[in-house]
């Protein structure tokens, strides 16, 4: 049988179809964000205009400072690191948003995207579910201001259910209303990029599926302290549940002399709470605004630690806090152990603090780990943000099976190799969900030939079922006091990398 020849019409249709297929498959078609949030497939990039667009994924880059690249074998553990969500109540009278206009280190007291933290956390949960880890590390600063309603919202997102993100009688009553004449706040109904109705949408009920897998909490400064700085006082407690809010700076408010940000410090605020206390004293002397009171804004102080562990453990299961501290261990399979260290100060201040006995306890846990590979987790990085952190690092330096030291707090992606006589380990910090780039981190620890391991890690963008997550990411990128100018996204060597670690000698 001879092949049938195409007539002209059929040929034209075939050509048109082929051209259309070509177009659809990428010759000019707009790239879509990865449905699972994996930045290996695609990610959000800023071409320099401030407007994010979907760009190509970032492949894993090999880093061999701690061991040569070797063929990869079986996976030992699959972990997600979600940190610094800063779920916050933007209507709370216990906030001092006007401090942000003073710039660093106070810029985090107001963010244009701050009404959308619940939605972003929900999107991050969605991406983590798609990654399907064995364990999720909630790396601290799950909430922003030590408030009960903030914690309730955040835990509902992690557990699954319906969240009502607003507070007070109006859902939202804060500085971003269009009726607020203060030009230093982004008001979505008025200021570009305009998002009319955003504030109403932000407090609309949200149904979330939850993580649906084990997770372990790490205590952050914002979880336990007001604004990540202050131990709750009668003044702050009364403010939180009261009806007077501080929206405007008092006249002649000024920064104390010598007030500077520690270059490697957290954007959460200055390490010394005396500065913030001084500000509060001035602020309370200034004009206030009447807002709706809400008792669910009550401050939790350090009871938050118990609530976190109880939530992570699940109903009816014992919470493994010891004296209200969240130090603990968690095994992942037969080959990996997670050691969680609680370095959050109890006397105030955003920086970490190693308490007496912690180095010894860490040494015990590392010794008891045996042949397991160990990942140590803190909220504040041990180098540069934690007083006494070097002592813990020296302990870790002696143990050959420590693979990585994982932290949050700085809101910055960064990976540094720490060589040691025992083989060294990787110092990893993960960006936050509140500041650009609003990413979590996926980690897969695998064996390599020769007895070493490789820790594959890549970033996860939060996935947006609606539009609010994307709005938050865009606003966060535009923020001139946010993650973009401070380069929180890090370099490609801080994001999607393959971290080799040689075998134990």
């Amino acid at each position: 049988m001879t092949a049938r020849r195409l007539n002209r019409r059929e040929a034209l249709l075939a050509a048109a179809g082929g051209a259309g297929a070509l177009l659809l498959t990428g010759c000019g078609s707009p790239r879509r964000p990865a449905a699972d949030g994996s930045t290996l497939a695609s990610t959000w990039v800023d071409p320099g205009t401030g407007q994010l667009q979907v760009g190509p994924g970032e492949p894993l880059r090999a880093r061999v400072e701690l061991g040569p690249a070797r063929p990869v074998g079986a996976a030992l553990a699959r972990i997600a690191h979600l940190t610094d969500a800063h779920v916050l109540d933007a209507s709370s009278p216990a906030r001092v948003p006007f401090l942000a206009r003073f710039g660093p280190p106070l810029q985090s007291t107001f963010r244009p995207q701050e009404t959308l933290t619940v939605q972003v956390l929900a999107g991050a949960v969605h991406a983590i579910r798609a990654f399907a880890p064995e364990l999720v590390i909630e790396g601290g600063d799950l909430v922003d201001n030590n408030q009960a309603n903030e914690l309730a919202h955040a835990l509902t997102v992690l557990a699954g259910g319906t969240v009502h993100p607003g507070s007070g009688p109006d859902g939202y009553d804060g500085v971003q209303l269009s009726s607020d004449p203060d030009p230093f706040y982004y008001r979505p109904d008025i200021d570009a990029p305009r998002h009319p109705g955003l504030l109403r949408a932000a407090v609309a009920p949200l149904s979330v599926p939850g993580l649906d897998r084990p997770w372990v909490p790490v205590l952050g400064d914002h979880d336990a302290l007001v604004a990540g700085e202050l131990v709750p006082t009668p003044v702050t407690r009364a403010l939180a549940v009261g009806d007077r809010a501080l929206w405007q700076p008092p006249p002649h408010l000024h920064l104390p002399a010598g007030f500077r940000l520690n270059p490697s410090g957290s954007p959460d605020g200055p390490p010394d709470p005396r500065f913030v206390a001084a500000f509060l004293a001035q602020a309370l002397a200034g004009p206030t605004v009447t807002v709706g009171a809400d008792p669910t804004r009550a401050e939790l102080a350090f009871t938050v630690a118990d609530r976190l562990t109880a939530a992570a453990a699940g109903p009816g299961r014992p919470s493994p806090t010891v004296g209200g501290r969240l130090d603990g261990v968690r095994d992942i399979g037969a080959a990996v152990r997670l050691v969680v260290l609680d370095v959050t100060r109890r006397d105030g201040g955003s920086g970490g603090l190693v308490v007496p006995g912690q180095p010894a306890w860490l040494a015990e846990q590392l010794a008891a780990a045996g042949d397991r590979w160990v990942i140590v987790v803190t909220h504040q990085p041990l180098a540069g943000s934690t007083e006494g952190g070097e002592r813990l690092l020296e302990v870790m330096d002696r143990f050959p099976r420590v693979v990585a030291c994982l932290a949050g707090h700085t809101h910055r992606n960064r990976i540094a190799a720490r060589p040691s006589p025992a083989g060294g380990y990787w110092m990893i910090t993960t960006s936050s969900l509140i500041d650009f780039p609003q990413q979590s981190r996926a980690l897969v620890l695998s064996e390599t030939s020769g007895g070493g391991v490789v820790l594959d890690t890549w970033m996860l963008d939060h996935v947006d079922d609606g539009a609010l997550g994307s709005v938050s990411r865009q606003l966060a990128n535009l923020d001139a006091q946010g993650g973009r100018p401070f380069r929180f996204a890090g370099t490609p060597r801080d994001r999607n990398v393959r971290l080799f670690r040689r075998a134990v000698a």
Partner: protein, 769 residues
């Protein structure tokens, strides 16, 4: 004439020769046609020069100067601090910082000024202005400056001259600069540029010092609003902030230029249509006259295309040179004035960029008459050849109007009926004349009004002419004075923004009729319509992030606050846009002691001097609102020159239309005129005949033209320009009489010229027809 032109190059040469011969037979007709084409081309090219110049001036200036997308002025601040804030903004591709020093004393020859602006430049090649002559400033410490072109022209400063700058001494002028972010001297202050490196070398000041001016370039200028929001959020600590965007400056300038452009485009369309109608009618009449010869050529095999092309070629031989001369004439008439206007605006002339548009207008000026000539020939040849050979006369259709069907009026009445026998042409010609009359009246009124304004552009937006330092209670008494249309208390004070931005805001309030006394053009939203509403200048809106619906909080000198809702934003040139207009009741509630004066709005054509004398008589000596004459006068003078030149051109178009109408009438009624002459009609009789025709055209056209200007065009233009100035564009009696006299004169010239031409033709030739 060849019977069968045929195809190919031989045929083309033959057609060319035929056309030349036909022109040679009727040189006066050819000249007449040429005059019409010349006038239309001149009007069109004048419109092109002005439109392209003004319409594209800002875009050219911005591109040439690489004007920033965002210009920010502020009180002096450390350059490092400002640079850090700008570097944190999204979408920024670069920025330049400088120190702008005002009230600098300069002297050159006999010229002096104490208001010069020195732009002390930082490092970097992008600076937001163009060096249009000479060379850039050297990197070292030599005492060199660049001066603005308009200032250099006004003072006669040449490159190489020395300018004496107070505090610096002699500075050598190494070039001319133009920065489109501001207007040129004398509209704006004299401006010169020098480098900070020069000051460092001479005085040992630090290399990096305080700055008060930032020019920012964006990767995507469409996102300037987003950048503005972030810039404002970053600006805490900077005081006296003023933002202006490239788009915002362009809107302001385009609004003013747009009025002039729209007028000129309308005028040129009228002129072109007039010429086209007249030329088309002439061509049709000519075709009618040649019907028999056309029929013979058709009978001998000539094609319709060839015949139409022949007609078109004949006109083209006239139109091409006429359009060329006309295009050049229009260009020359307006090029100088347009260039001067652009120089005042710190904008470059189109230069070689005009070539294409002028070629286009030239082509249009040729194409319209050529097509107008070819079309009747094409049409008439579609019928049977026998009809052509039989020949037809002018009136092939019954008159549509029942009058003036028969008798009466003598020769003048006959002239009326001859014109009325062509009702479509009558209506078209009257419409053209009426439009031209209306526009001439408008141009004259506008030129006169602008000359009498002598307004400082900074004052545009104010409609009242006088103010008096008097209590509010005196307003009623002043309002009753003859020549006063309205008088109201006016309150004005300086407030400060409530957020320590250091923004000084001018607050202006009236009890009732804010928009009657002061109303800059609305940029967004609407005029205040509620008790606590205000409209704010765009400058203030940008500085404080205001939009319709926003809340505005100002602190008054009394210590109290004004809590307002923004109803709209206005393009106010006054106070650099840092102004808020609101009802007096709101202001007085917060500050009962707000400074007051009486604003006085004069009645149309009331004498300022007379009203001032009356006000002095009753004890309230007034002050003129209009600012200094010097700054606005050159702009006004240039605009007036342009408008008057255009009015003259339009007048010539009217003359041409009348001449053409009379000539057509005579041409179509050659046999009638010949019969009259054969019966002994004198030249005066023929003139009376034509006078009737001319009066039939002029009388309704004049009436319609005057009414159109008084009721339609004048009020429409006044409304368009309402935000910039209060324009009284109703024609004065003198204007109307002058234009009517001009029309009558044009009619008389037409009658005289056509009569002469008609009498020159032998009577037998007309009878043979």
């Amino acid at each position: 004439m060849s019977a069968t032109p045929g195809g190919g190059s031989r045929g083309r040469r033959r057609r060319f020769g035929d056309a030349l011969r036909m022109l040679a037979r009727s040189p006066r007709r050819a000249l007449f046609t040429a005059a019409g084409v010349l006038l239309a081309a001149a009007m069109l090219s004048a419109a092109v020069v002005i439109t392209d110049g003004l319409g594209g001036g800002f875009a050219r200036a911005s591109a040439r100067a690489d004007l920033g997308d965002l210009i920010i002025r502020f009180d002096p601040e450390s350059a490092r601090t400002v640079a850090a804030k700008l570097a944190a903004l999204p979408d920024v591709s670069g920025f330049a910082l400088r120190s702008e020093i005002t009230s600098v004393g300069v002297r050159f020859g006999a010229h002096r000024s104490g208001t010069a602006v020195a732009e002390v430049l930082g490092p970097g090649r992008r600076q937001g202005f163009a060096v249009v002559a000479g060379h850039r400033l050297p990197a070292g410490g030599a005492p060199d400056v660049l001066v603005e072109t308009a200032w250099a022209q006004a003072w006669g400063i040449a490159i190489g001259d020395e300018l004496d700058v107070r505090g610096l001494g002699p500075e050598r002028v190494v070039g001319y600069a133009e920065g489109p972010d501001d207007v040129g001297y004398p509209l704006g202050a004299p401006r010169f540029y020098l480098t900070r490196a020069q000051l460092v070398a001479r005085f040992g000041i630090p290399t990096v010092g305080p700055v008060n001016f930032a020019e920012v370039w964006l990767r995507d200028p469409r996102l300037v609003d987003e950048v503005l929001v972030q810039a404002r959020d970053e600006s805490y600590g900077l005081r006296g902030l003023k933002f202006s965007t490239r788009a915002g400056v362009q809107v302001l300038i385009s609004q003013a230029a747009g009025l002039v452009i729209d007028l000129l485009v309308a005028l040129s369309v009228i002129a072109l249509v007039t010429a086209a109608v007249m030329l088309g009618a002439a061509a049709r009449a000519e075709v009618q006259r040649r019907l028999r010869s056309i029929g013979i050529r058709r009978a001998l095999g000539a094609g319709r295309w060839a015949l139409a092309a022949g007609q078109g070629l004949e006109v083209a031989l006239v139109a091409v040179p006429a359009a060329t001369v006309g295009t050049l004439a229009g260009f020359l008439a307006t090029h100088g004035a347009s260039g001067r206007l652009l120089s005042l605006l710190n904008e470059p002339a189109p230069g070689a960029g005009l070539i294409l548009p002028l070629l286009g207008s030239w082509a249009l000026s040729v194409a319209v008459p050529v097509l107008g000539a070819a079309w009747p020939a094409w049409r008439v040849t579609r019928g049977p050849v026998i009809g052509l050979l039989r020949g037809t006369d002018v009136a092939t259709s019954r008159p549509r109007f029942p009058w003036p069907a028969r008798g009466g009026g003598g020769l003048t009445g006959l002239g009326v009926r001859l014109v009325a026998a062509r009702p479509a042409r009558l209506v078209a010609t009257v419409a053209m004349l009426a439009s031209s009359t209306a526009f001439i009246l408008l141009m004259i009124a506008l030129a006169g009004t602008l000359s009498s304004l002598e307004t400082d552009p900074q004052e545009l937006g104010k409609r009242y002419e006088l103010t008096a330092a008097a209590p509010a209670a005196a307003a009623a008494r002043i309002a009753r004075l003859p020549g006063v249309a309205a008088a109201e208390p006016r309150y004005e004070l300086t407030a400060v923004d409530a957020y320590e931005l250091g923004e000084l805001v001018d607050v202006v309030a009236y009890p009732r009729q804010l928009s009657r006394f002061e109303a800059p053009p609305l940029a967004a939203g609407r005029r205040p319509h509620g008790a606590d509403q205000a409209e704010v200048g765009v400058g203030l809106a940008d500085a404080l992030g205001l939009a319709p619906g926003s809340a505005l909080l100002l602190e008054l000198p009394s210590g109290r606050q004004l809590d307002l809702r923004v109803s709209g934003t206005v393009n106010s040139l006054a106070y650099e846009g840092l102004v808020a207009y609101l009802p007096a009741a709101v202001l007085l509630r917060a500050d009962p002691a707000a400074p007051e004066q009486i604003a006085v709005l004069l009645a149309p054509r009331a004498s300022t001097a007379t009203v001032s004398a009356e006000m002095r008589r009753i004890g309230f000596p007034p002050t003129l609102t209009a600012g200094a004459v010097a700054r606005g006068a050159p702009l006004v003078a240039v605009l007036t020159t342009i408008l008057r030149a255009v009015a003259v051109l339009d007048g010539l178009v009217c003359l041409y239309a009348l001449l053409q109408a009379c000539a057509l009438t005579v041409q179509e009624r050659r046999s009638t005129v010949a019969v009259l002459r054969a019966c002994g009609a004198s030249p005066g009789a023929i003139a009376r005949l034509l006078s009737g025709a001319v009066v039939t055209l002029i009388a309704p056209a004049a009436a319609l033209g005057v009414l159109a200007e008084a009721w339609l065009l004048g009020p429409a233009l006044a409304r368009l320009a309402a935000g910039y100035a209060s324009l009284d564009l109703a024609p004065t009696r003198v204007d109307v009489l002058a234009v009517l006299a001009g029309l009558a004169l044009a009619g008389a010239i037409a009658v005289w010229a056509v009569t002469r031409r008609a009498l020159a033709e032998p009577v037998l030739a007309g009878l043979a027809r």
